[in-house]
Point group: D2
Chain length 347, copies 4
């Protein structure tokens, strides 16, 4: 059986590294090549600890990022784990060459007008924004053949999975929504600055990018597909762990939003999905999802507030795992192919 | 100079242990005796790692909890680090005997009617509730001589320090307030159940007691002293650390509540305090306060929301440190006596 | 293709839980049933977070441990993750019934005479000790068909992989060997005592069972298969992490044991193995192996000492992963079947 | 009472920061000035979270490192928390000017001949090496008035406290000693490289500087003051914690070295010290010492080996706390002055 040849662009970052490992252990995928300036010339298998038997006979080495397009002929699909401004330029190049494209950056997730404020640049390929499919399949369906996939951000994945069904079913007020997010350090990508030194992060907790986090408009845009009038406040906190992300979401109840009703709403919304499970809100925890592509969500309510909590592994359901789900959908494969063997880390 | 003889009731718990160490290193205090069923007969100094020179010549041993009142004559003041239902019965006994009393439990923090719902018992000493002083001195002043002090809970201390000045100055709407709390495991007291085993808590995060945490009415009651019409939602999360607590608070802005104005409000409120410092919200972090009696608070705003964040060491400013502040006030000593030498843990 | 039906005895412990997940995602294995007193009646798939599609149509529930033999007909093979005294009685029962047996306890790893001292009981089935195969395949080969497999302990796996080739090649003195071990808490199995409470273990390190750890005679016995005259001192330390184990081994060099030579010795010993990789000693780290079935080993030497370091995931190569390797070997399958998709946890 | 004015050179590092806090809370010391290139011009009190009341009226700011000698007149004593090559040049300058000098680097701890190999430079002030007092007071006594103090390294402090009495009493063989060390990340000083990023260190363990750690000759030299013929192997490991250090030491027993005898040897050696406590080896743990200036040591033996374990807070007894002990001794004050109020971090 011929395998789909996948290029990993930006494979020395955290999400890129996980993506490469998922591709290498997927029964229908094989790594075509991987790019990294830092690791150019090194063996992909050795550096990433990949099972060698699953790579191509040629045993690929890392190539410099700038050479990505030169090797385009060698691949059928591309996973980009690059910065948004890099993806913004590379995605149209690969798509024009007929490659299946899944972009893990934020370059194709928002309206053109949002980029200067939230990403600090004018979008260089605005024509591609409408053609991009926001790849959160449990809420927005599979990508159409030939679509460019904008793979969702980590906080938006958890927040939208927890909140969107409640908005869609008119159980919560779209105004005044609060999303309080907490993430391990790999959510920020590979960082070498002092702020991410072990001695600074260990045993600590702090909020960051208060009122300015770029996932704010992305969550808002996803919620607006469910209801109009959404007003959102989002805050991110840095947890002293490596992997795992939780969003605790607060919204005012609309008539009928009892504790029982909101729990049932989530259970019904995801009953047929492979990866999203509705549980009691106190049972939503990082340890049940880290290492897997699962998202756990849970909701409850009292007279004045609905609380909905979502938890994911930010590098899997929040990045590379969801990218593989999107690749599976683009090729007509089962949603869980290459992801069902993942084991949670917690004993 | 004669030292005040302090009894520590419940000294084998986390807060009780820290209280004992603070008393032992305080220049005007000395441990009269300490109680613990588990440690009865052992040396207080050895078990708690206390500097021996600072204890009385007699080198006290732990006595059983049931013997606490038998030793009452040996002390001038009492710190109770006991469960609420135990404190409820002991506090009046010690107070009636003329002892200075600081109770670290929730037994004297609420209205009588709140106890069945939030603490699961009818209050056995309701007459003492009005006489108890809620000991958060930066907001509610020092205790009067002879008052019984209800030492505030950990989440309430952080939440009230961050929010109360904003409510008092009419900068935020008292309705629809959200407090998202995160605490290390010592906030729950010494626990031996499976839920607190290392392998369950490490690298994890989860919400607990959703809509049912007993600190909810305590925060609400504190805020109601600042403004009427308060509606509050509070959620607690368990962090995979030992010490440190943060509350991220959300409230709708009232006219005039700019980012600059809310920051100034906190700075002004605490400018003259020894232990509360107003900083930017992204600079509020556990590592700046853990090991010390400091609380750090910070606030900002956009058009739709005010965010106010507070951080403390839950065992110091959130428990034993604040108890020593209250003892200092009751005896007319400087607010920081016995607390200024505390060193933060973060390097 | 018919799958081998595997029973997991003691599936609510850490190693048993991981074993169940490995079986459920293995292409030639299926869970026949799983035992747990605590979880009897609950769904195996839900509790362990298993991919449901990989279980049998019947969707097994946990059965009580005492019912294990009653269900024996339903299985072809048994993985026992039980205490040594329980395994000692169950293993002969299953073996007599013709089942393939892999025992993860220490019940069949030592000489009969060692059990009173190191395990605290007289061995009840000494006749089976000689028939048991010590299942460390990279050193001692695959089990013969029909053998009972004594799956090695976690410390012995890491220590023997690092040291045995050096002894076999006469590069180190068998006398005066020191093994300094460090392990995460899951190495001790599921524990609910105070000593394993989060607040006790977090940020701590301590030695345990000094001179009395039951893995001491097991390491010694493995080394004695390589050289006579072995004298061993082994110390275990508890690390504040969940998974991962390292052994730092010290042995005096024999003539010819240069830094280069000892490194080559390990490289040669494992060049053809699937799971053991020789690297520089400073590159042996938990993060490269945790989440996988790999063992990393490295050695160096100066004039007075050889240092050899080994690292594994104590629940995989140190327990359940190695058990699956042994099952693979007993059935003539490839060494890595069902293990090659495992992803390391470190980003 | 006039206070001794102390300069902190290199106060933005971990040890320098802790030293500054200890000086600021010491009843007989006051910060004269502190140096840091990175923080030049900032307030010392604000940056280090110092109690403001304890600083001088002038509220010192950081001055650039290069200006250290320009301010020499403002101080009576100097604590240097600088790199060894910097201390090598500054120490003679301050000593010549009549200042009390405690150097926390390795610049004055070894023989001249050791520097090229272990520190990578020829010593520029060899004449001062003999005049330097190795400041481990429990083993080598207090510094003479006017001495330059070479404050011991962190690993040497723990290893020597555990081993030296056993060597002195002829209970262990000086040949073939193994010291297996484990330290939190602050032992390496403030590091910004990728190797010390949170995501690299968290949940990991690795050996470093195998056979090349600069503390090897320092431990050896200390042991040689107790017995001739010492042969030592030392290995350091990086723990995923911030503070705390343990050394597990192995030495062959000489006649008479029973378990009881070696335990008594340590108990006797430290019975009269303020900061070193002999306990059972399994009770030596980081949590009992981190946050304090205590060292805990414990030893046991079987027929073939003596194991001696030592634990300290690497920034206190292993650096700044011991420096204050040395300052106390130079001024004729009590050993524990300014250190007895330190609280352990573990609850």
């Amino acid at each position: 059986m011929t395998k789909l040849r996948v290029a990993i662009i930006g494979a020395s970052g955290y999400a890129g590294g996980v993506a490469a490992r998922l591709v290498a252990t997927h029964e229908r995928l094989v790594i075509a090549f991987a790019t990294s300036d830092k690791l150019a010339g090194e063996s992909v298998a050795v550096h990433l600890g990949l099972p060698r038997a699953r790579l191509t006979a040629a045993q690929p080495q890392f190539v410099p990022n700038a050479a990505a397009l030169d090797h385009a002929d060698a691949c059928d699909a591309v996973l980009l784990a690059t910065a948004a401004d890099v993806s913004m330029r590379l995605v149209p190049e690969f798509a024009t060459r007929g490659k299946q494209v899944v972009d893990l950056s934020g370059a194709f997730r928002l309206d053109m007008r949002a980029y200067p404020r939230w990403y600090g640049f004018d979008h260089a390929a605005p024509g591609w924004l409408d053609r991009a499919h926001y790849g959160l399949p449990e809420l927005f369906g599979p990508p159409a053949p030939g679509a460019v996939v904008a793979n969702p951000g980590c906080y938006p994945t958890a927040a939208l999975l927890a909140l969107a069904p409640l908005l869609r079913e008119r159980l919560v007020d779209p105004r005044g929504i609060v999303v309080d997010g907490k993430s391990g350090v790999t959510g920020a990508g590979r960082q070498s600055g002092d702020a991410y030194a072990f001695a600074e992060v260990h045993d600590d907790l702090r909020a960051y990018k208060v009122f300015t986090h770029q996932h704010t408009p992305e969550i808002e845009r996803g919620l607006l597909r469910m209801a109009s009038g959404v007003e959102l406040t989002f805050t991110a906190h840095l947890l002293p762990i490596n992997r795992g992300l939780m969003t605790t979401c607060y919204a005012r109840p609309l008539p009928g939003a009892s504790a029982k009703r909101v729990a049932e709403c989530l259970a019904d919304a995801y009953a047929k999905t492979e990866f999203v499970r509705a549980v009691a809100p106190e049972q939503v925890s990082l340890k049940r999802v880290v290492g897997t592509n699962f998202a756990h969500v849970g909701a409850s309510a009292d007279a004045g507030m609905v609380i909905a909590i979502g938890a994911i592994d930010n590098l899997l359901k929040g990045a590379a795992g969801q990218a593989v789900q999107n690749l599976n959908a683009m090729n007509g494969w089962h949603d869980a192919m290459g992801l069902e063997h993942l084991q949670r880390v917690s004993p």
